[in-house]
Amino acid sequence: MNPTPDDIQILEARKAQVHTKGAAPFQLACEKHSVAGAVSQRACVFCGSRVVLYPITDALHLVHGPVGCAAYTWDIRGSQSSGPQLHRMSFSTDLREKDVIYGGEKKCEAALMELIQRYQPKAAFVYATCIVGLIGDDLEAVCRRVTERTGIDVIPVHSEGFAGSKKDGYSAACRAIDHLVGTSDAPPPPGPSINILGDFNIAGETWLIREYYERMGLNVIATITGDGRVDDIRRSHQAQLNVVQCSGSIKGLAQIMKKDYDIPFMHVSYFGLEDMSKALYDVAEHFNDPAMMVKAQALVRDEISAVMPELRKYREALQGKKAAVYTGGAFKAFSLVRSLRTLGVKTVIAGSQTGNPQDYLKLESLCDEGTVLLDDTNPLELAKFIDQTGADLLIGGVKERPIAYKLGVAFCDHNHERKDCLAGYVGMLNFAREVYSSVCSPVWSLTPRQRRTRDGQTAPLPKPIPAPPKPYLRRVRTAPKPKSNLTPLTLGGLEVTA
């Protein structure tokens, strides 16, 4: 017998992390170690560090441990670079049994020396994985020695997988970045300046946001977590404001910089028309510069009027649909609830892997009565509530995708593996297109659950909305390099000439 939604029971140890708005006074437990055997969608401390530091493109990232941790994070993100591609390489000390017995320090040091010589990075991050702490490797000492020998900053990242949660990995990454902050004495740029923190340049999003700020007359010193550069981070202490998206991951750095350099910070989000516009207005307001505010207003007006006509069509097609949202950090969930509302879509499930009590209070206040709120949920709970609420769409990452698809429910990838720009105004349009292209696909009418839940009646398909034509891309391939010399082939004992 396959379970109906009611058959799937919430584990006792998980009950406090599930809340239905309006069913009881609001209370949602969070920031807890994931329950063993609950099949959490979270990863580990190492993952938290790796994702924050990953987009520092001209640094070497060496994962000290057995091969898996590096193999599964090789080129995993859609984070783009305008120059160096070193961050897309996967380097591992690939510890073997004898290293575990005798210690991995020597191997780590030798690997660093060789890699630094070969790739000439601007700095190096060395990530500790689970067993590094256990076998007693002194990573600090290794990094110190290699720094002395090479003259580049080699920074240990204390990201042993078991030593906390993904959030602790974020903190470890922030502390690692802090090693570099303030180490340049280049003269500060003239005029108002900011750092962009917590945008990961997925599909070039940081470039888009940077351009918005520059249109407002701001200097962007460092885009730390998206198309990041070591030298920019070194002088990031010169900025007058840290603008922080994805607060869970990088707020720690903004706090350190506030303490050490008295740089104020503010939280923003670049997803959705409302939050994107608010980010620009808030920054302009911070600088208390009427001319900047006028520029921001003009920018918002121009950008919104460019996307609204097409957005309205999607809204018409999607009106009344229901969505489930499950994100890594809770901040993105806020923006998604608002963006979906812009499209006429109601959020019926909202949750995150790493939200804190304030985040969930806010999320609850944004959602309608009856919305199910989830902290650190798992596939069974998601399936249960998707089925119960009749959600038409799930927004999440690759790990959540099969839950939606198996149930005949649309899916939108809003994680860092995606290849489409979803930030800013054009991003809102892309988001609407993606939601529309999944929710309104004709394939659902063939799936068994849709047939069951709709009594065999399929919803009439909305009229297709053509996306604006894209420039025709000619397929370009280069001819192969001429082979240097024709070697005789020996095949089946015969000698032939190619």
Binding site: N2, H33, V39, S40, A43, C44, G68, S92, R475, L491
Partner: protein, 454 residues
């Protein structure tokens, strides 16, 4: 002459050509009916492996974790394991739990068999799932070893002896696709034999759309079948890279006297012939007409396309068994494998290639324990025409500007990996057509004329 790479590898592994041991174990456990894979270690291990396999199969892949915290790392993971097992039993109601260790639990020396024993003792009178324990520290071997070990542990834990069933054949397929598993089953059945394929994730990792949610998707080798494996007439132990005594086939032969046929993956005419010959000898029946016809069409197509492929030079990489089988297949169609490499390190790859490709006058360069940067450096001197391997070689293919024919696991940048057939005459036919068409497409794309007949 078999040559091995002379240039010493980097100390660091750069863009690994392998996955970690627990991944292989999880994949294998997903091929047992109502079995939930469970990793004893940090939360990240299960989540990363889930994501990696979901990207390949595009199907649910739930893997539980005992989710070590600092306490567990210091004092041992018994409490976490017990809690995890209880929660998994409540949440998933599995018949089997496939428990694999990780580098963390192995390094602190957790006595998992004792933990499992005590867990059972704490739940007297309860119908607990069958627990299989595979020791898979990620600092030994690779995913391929984890896969073999999980299947060995499964058979060692569950299989029983009994009266010999002359119609029963155990199939230990190695790391192949769901389509391959289905085809192997079909082939054995066609001889009037009953196959028990272990693992069999053909339905679970390539299943239909659902009307209701499944906690554990349908499919997989039933527990009752695994019990009967000791009574089989023969075991087809496919793949030769694992140590002879490391596979489930060795357990079946030694413990239950099952006749073991240890042969390479059946890719190519000759390698498939070896499979069919083994089945002829087990069943006493000739190869069914349908397969004879398939073989005939395959050889006919070899003839039709031989000039398109002859003398082309190929780089082959991936799991050792896949590399050896592919090299044999390429050699028999006239493509020269010039560089064959694997992230695995069994020490037997060169011999396996020599034995799979006896017709080659000039042996390829063979590199074990390779990573993609070593491979790229070695590839620069072999002037190849095409690359055959999984999708992690895309960067290599792009840098060398060579076409990549995707085979095996993982395939993260193309659609339909689960339905890709490699084995038997039929699988070989599909591979052959793809290789020929890849070479034709390449030639056409690069031609100034843009010929429309080829």
């Amino acid at each position: 002459m078999i040559t091995k790479a002379s240039n010493p590898n980097f100390v660091a592994t750069r863009n690994a050509c392998k996955m970690c041991t627990p991944l292989g174990a999880c994949l294998a456990f997903a091929g047992i009916e109502k079995c939930l894979p469970f990793l004893h270690g940090s939360q990240g291990c299960s989540t990363y492996i889930r994501r990696y396999l979901i990207s390949h199969f595009r199907e649910p892949m739930d893997i539980a974790s005992s989710n070590f915290g600092e306490q567990a790392a210091i004092f041992g993971g018994q409490a976490n394991l017990s809690q995890g097992l209880s929660n998994v039993i409540q949440g998933y109601n599995p018949k089997v739990i496939g428990l694999a260790t990780t580098c963390l639990s192995e390094t602190i020396g957790d006595d998992v068999p004792m933990f499992l024993h005590e867990f059972a003792a704490e739940h007297p009178g309860e119908a607990l799932p069958v627990m299989i324990h595979a020791s898979t520290p990620s600092y030994t071997g690779s995913h391929a070893d984890g896969y073999v070990e999980a299947i060995r542990a499964t058979v060692a834990t569950i299989a029983e002896g009994g009266e010999r069933d002359v119609k029963l054949v155990d199939v230990l397929p190695g790391i192949v696709s769901p389509a391959d598993l289905r085809h192997l089953r079909e082939i054995v059945k066609a001889f009037g034999l009953e196959p028990i394929v272990l693992p069999d994730y053909s339905d679970r990792l390539d299943g239909p759309s659902w009307a209701e949610y499944r906690r554990i998707p349908e499919g997989g080798t039933p527990l009752e079948d695994i019990r009967r494996m000791g009574t089989a007439a023969a075991a087809l132990d496919l793949g030769t890279a694992a140590k002879d005594n490391a596979t489930a086939g060795a357990v079946l032969a030694k413990k239950f006297g099952v006749t073991r046929h240890r042969i390479g993956l059946p890719i190519g005419v000759r390698a498939s012939d070896a499979l069919f010959e083994a089945l002829e000898s087990i069943s006493g029946q000739p190869t069914p007409e349908a397969f004879v016809a398939e073989r005939g069409r395959l050889v006919d197509s070899y003839v039709d396309a031989h000039k398109y492929v002859f003398g082309k030079r190929a780089i082959v990489y991936g799991d050792e068994d896949m590399v050896a089988a592919m090299s044999g297949f390429l050699a028999e169609i006239g493509v020269m494998p010039v560089l064959c490499a694997s992230g695995g390190k069994s020490g037997t790859l060169a011999d396996a290639i020599a034995s799979a490709a006896p017709g080659l006058a000039e042996m390829p360069e063979v590199i074990e324990g390779v990573d993609f940067e070593d491979l790229t450096e070695a590839a620069e001197s072999v002037s190849a025409d095409l690359i055959v391997g999984h999708s992690k070689g895309y960067k290599l293919a792009r840098e060398l500007d060579l076409p990549l024919v995707r085979v095996g696991l993982p395939i993260h940048d193309r659609f339909g990996a689960a339905r890709m057939l490699h084995v038997g005459y039929e699988g070989t036919q599909q591979l052959f057509d793809r290789i020929v068409n890849t070479l034709l497409e390449s030639k056409q794309d690069l031609s100034e004329m843009g010929y429309t007949y080829l």
